[in-house]
Amino acid sequence: MRNMDRRTFLLSTGRWLVLAAVAPTVTGCARALRWSESQGRTEAGSESGGSTPGTTGTAETTTSTTAGTATTADGGSPGPTGTTTSSTPDLAVIRGDFPDKNVRAAVALLGGMERFVKRDARVVVKPNVLTGRPPEYATTTNPLVIGAIVRMCLEAGARQVTVLDYPTSSPRAAFQESGLAQAVEEAGGDLKYLSNRNFEQVEIPEGQSITSWPLVTDVLEADTFINVPIGKTHGMAGLTLAMKNLMGIMGDPRGRIHTDYARKITDVNTRVKPHLVILDAYRILTRNGPTGGNLDDVAMPKTVVAGTSQIAIDAYGTTIMGWQPTDLPSLVEAASRGLGEIDLSRLTITESTA
């Protein structure tokens, strides 16, 4: 090799750099092409599905869900999945030794995942991944539960199932230590580490304490949003269940939510309404929540609760945690603003074992 002068060195380096830049651009374009093709396919698919509703075999739910999705597309708040058929309960409560079987049984009672996830739908699943701890510590949503949900969504024909959260510690460490990264990968879902660009400032028309906040775009644009909290105690809030789990889709400065918390979290819940809520109470954290870290603080009700109302789920959830719905200020606030029912006697609840 001859001794290069600076010019030749820069030239040859430049050549490599250009090559290095061109390669990803080409693949990027290819990806973009695939994306736009699949876009076209979906639109065509949903149109034909709409014109021949009988083909899927679940005509009633199809119609109601389509209406729900249309609302989302208009930019309004994604409401719960339309009107439910009279046979399905408000809450499905399943107890059993296997977290994944419990989830399957619970969703089946609500009419099956097909009720919530249409063909080619883009689904966002939101576990609680506060920080990285192994599942036994009940700090994060059980990986078996998340794995089962991802599989069910894919079986129902979802195009993409994205699992995301905004942990309070390093996201890679949090998802790996909690076993969720592996569970999602095995189930065929996509893990998403959030960055600033995934948040957009959103108006909260019914907000009383906060009227706008940066929220995760994917959640707002999803065809189906599934909230999968785990039951834990919480110093400031008392308990963290479904309503509070939405803090994980809020951008910074999140810490400010803690002041006037009950009203603020209710405000967020007026704007974002998951289509399906699944409370993981296979293990719960009874002390030192929400971070935990002590196996003595973990109890095992081996339960899963599924429903479509955040408020109803939380009302039932408090009883698993040994509280009453009225003990939780945020829940009382939500009920007083008409977001849902916290009187368990007025909810239809189907309990069973798997």
Binding site: E177, L191, G235, M236, R263
Partner: protein
């Protein structure tokens, strides 16, 4: 002219070593596997000598022995073939040979001796401050604090721009997933002293304006050490004395100014075995062989020796008696596993590998908190980050064991500081409103922050409840949750300080503690 021999590939070697160096440094992120990423630094004889002098002996340091002895056989090939800083000086430094006046030359040629004596005295005084000038340490530090933050910002910017085009979003998201925690970080990397480090690096390149490769020839302490060994060279540049016409072509070609006697003898303390001389020799009289004819132009007189030694001694003495050695700053908190402050100062190589590996960016180069002597030593800055409960990587990458490796269970009990609440700014204490972010995020299994009900201001009762009164009674007297730190449980990880919603200066802050030890379980 056809060139023969390994030296033809010198630049290739340099580039490969540079890529290896940067590759290993890029891999220095959570989670570290079992690769010895600090391999380069462990093989650095200067670092190794300092470690051994301080009683830190680990088998990996054996890597430094062949490097230290290599000048006996292959000259300072380390400088010419391996050293990434040397490559930078060669590539980006001005390359024209310049001849400073004889006085300057004399002074410059005295610098290596001074550097070595200074290092020696600093070792005696228990200070590793001279390692600030170790070339590998400089390179790692510069890359860590300047290159990776730039890469982080750059990739983020590219991602942000690409995100404007909806079709590219999927690709950007999957790229982000791959890069997060590796090249792109949740907060965006940022380091203190970036400008100082930049000026130092550019300065090293720029002084080549005074004399070609001045840094490598005269200033680099590692080069000086290798040069000292090189004086006893067994193999080296040999000249066929009969064929040599003393034409001077080799002298002009030598980038290290190592040729004496019009080409007939060699200063083996400089020769880096690049053999540019052999390539330009019209007589083909130059090769590499046994018993080179040596000449050392700079053989210090006793006077010069004493002068250099005296200066170094005084410098070392001042560091030894400095205030920073006596009084410790309350904000000077070292990463978990760090040795006691005195030992730390005498061992830390200022190489910034711990800064590189830290996933939260909490480890920052110290500015003045550790005194001038402690410039660039690692310090926790809890407004930049916090010590992650699941991470113990800084101890794994430290090449000198200034930060010892702790197992995760050990690290989680390691007290590096303690949190104190400033009740005059803490929201519940000062404003009578709920907050408790610190308590929520405290990762200790038995939380080190607890709360009592109380506080609140009677005249402000119901302040937060809004127009329709639907907010309950938050803020009423006696209903506010007030945080307290339980000293026996706090390890000083600082996640409370990092997340405290009080603007600018947190209302809960970690201060250094007298003794850092393990919490009793």
């Amino acid at each position: 002219m056809k060139r023969r021999g390994v030296h033809r590939y010198r630049r290739l070697f340099q580039i490969l070593f540079l890529l290896l160096f940067l590759g290993l440094l890029t891999l220095t992120v959570w989670p570290i596997g079992t690769i010895i990423l600090g391999g380069f630094l462990l093989a650095d004889p200067l670092l190794a000598m300092n470690s051994v002098a301080n009683g830190v002996i680990r088998w990996e340091l054996a890597l430094a022995i062949p490097v230290l002895l290599s000048p006996l056989l292959i000259g300072r090939a380390f400088c010419g073939y391996v050293c990434p800083l040397g490559l930078m000086v060669e590539l980006f430094g001005p390359r024209r040979e310049r001849h400073p006046g004889p006085r300057t030359r004399k002074v410059l040629r005295g610098v290596p001796l001074f550097g070595l004596l200074a290092s020696f005295f600093l070792i005696l005084f228990g200070s590793a401050a001279f390692l600030v000038f170790d070339p590998l340490s400089i390179f790692t530090r510069t890359a860590t604090t300047l290159v990776y933050p730039a890469v982080d910002r750059g990739l983020r910017l590219v991602g942000d721009v690409a995100y404007l085009a909806p079709p590219l979003r999927g690709g950007v998201d999957s790229a982000t997933d791959f890069l997060t925690g590796r090249l792109v970080f949740a907060n965006g990397l940022a380091y203190k002293l970036q400008l100082v480090i930049l000026v130092m690096f550019v300065g090293i390149l720029a002084i080549s304006l005074i004399e070609r490769r001045l840094w490598c020839r005269h200033l680099c302490p590692l080069g000086a050490l290798l040069g000292l060994v090189g004086r006893g060279a067994i193999f080296g540049r040999v000249v066929d004395q009969d064929a040599c016409t003393s034409c001077g072509a080799c002298t002009a070609a030598c980038p290290m100014d190592a040729i004496r006697d019009d080409g007939r003898s060699t200063d083996c303390s400089r020769c880096e075995a690049g053999l540019e001389c052999a390539d330009v020799c019209p007589q083909k009289a130059i090769g590499w062989g046994l018993r080179p004819r040596k000449q050392h132009e700079y053989d210090p007189s006793r006077r010069a020796f004493l002068k250099a030694g005296g200066l170094a001694f005084v410098g070392g003495f001042f560091l030894f008696t400095g205030l920073a050695r006596v009084q410790r700053d309350v904000h000077l908190i070292r990463p978990p596993g760090a040795r006691s402050e005195l030992d730390f100062m005498s061992i830390c190589a200022r190489c910034a590998q711990c800064l590189k590996v830290c996933p939260t960016n909490v480890i920052q180069p110290a500015v003045f908190d550790a005194g001038l002597e402690g410039f660039f030593t690692p310090q926790m800055d809890y407004r930049r980050g916090y010590c992650d409960w699941n991470c113990n990587e800084c101890g794994k990458v430290c090449p000198t064991e200034a930060i010892r490796e702790l197992s995760l269970p050990e690290k989680r009990l390691k007290v590096i500081g303690r949190a104190y609440i400033d009740k005059s700014t803490c929201i519940p204490w000062a404003e009578g409103r709920d907050c408790l972010v610190c308590q929520e995020l405290c990762p200790a299994p038995e939380k080190a922050i607890v709360f009592t009900q109380g506080g609140g201001l009677a005249l402000d009762s119901g302040r937060a409840s809004g127009e329709d009164g639907a907010g309950g009674t938050e803020g009423a007297a006696g209903t506010v949750k007030l945080p307290h730190v339980v000293p026996e449980r706090c390890i000083g990880c600082g996640i409370c300080q990092y997340n405290c919603p009080v603007t600018n200066e947190a209302a809960i802050r970690v201060r250094s503690v007298e003794q850092t030890g393990l919490l009793s379980k």
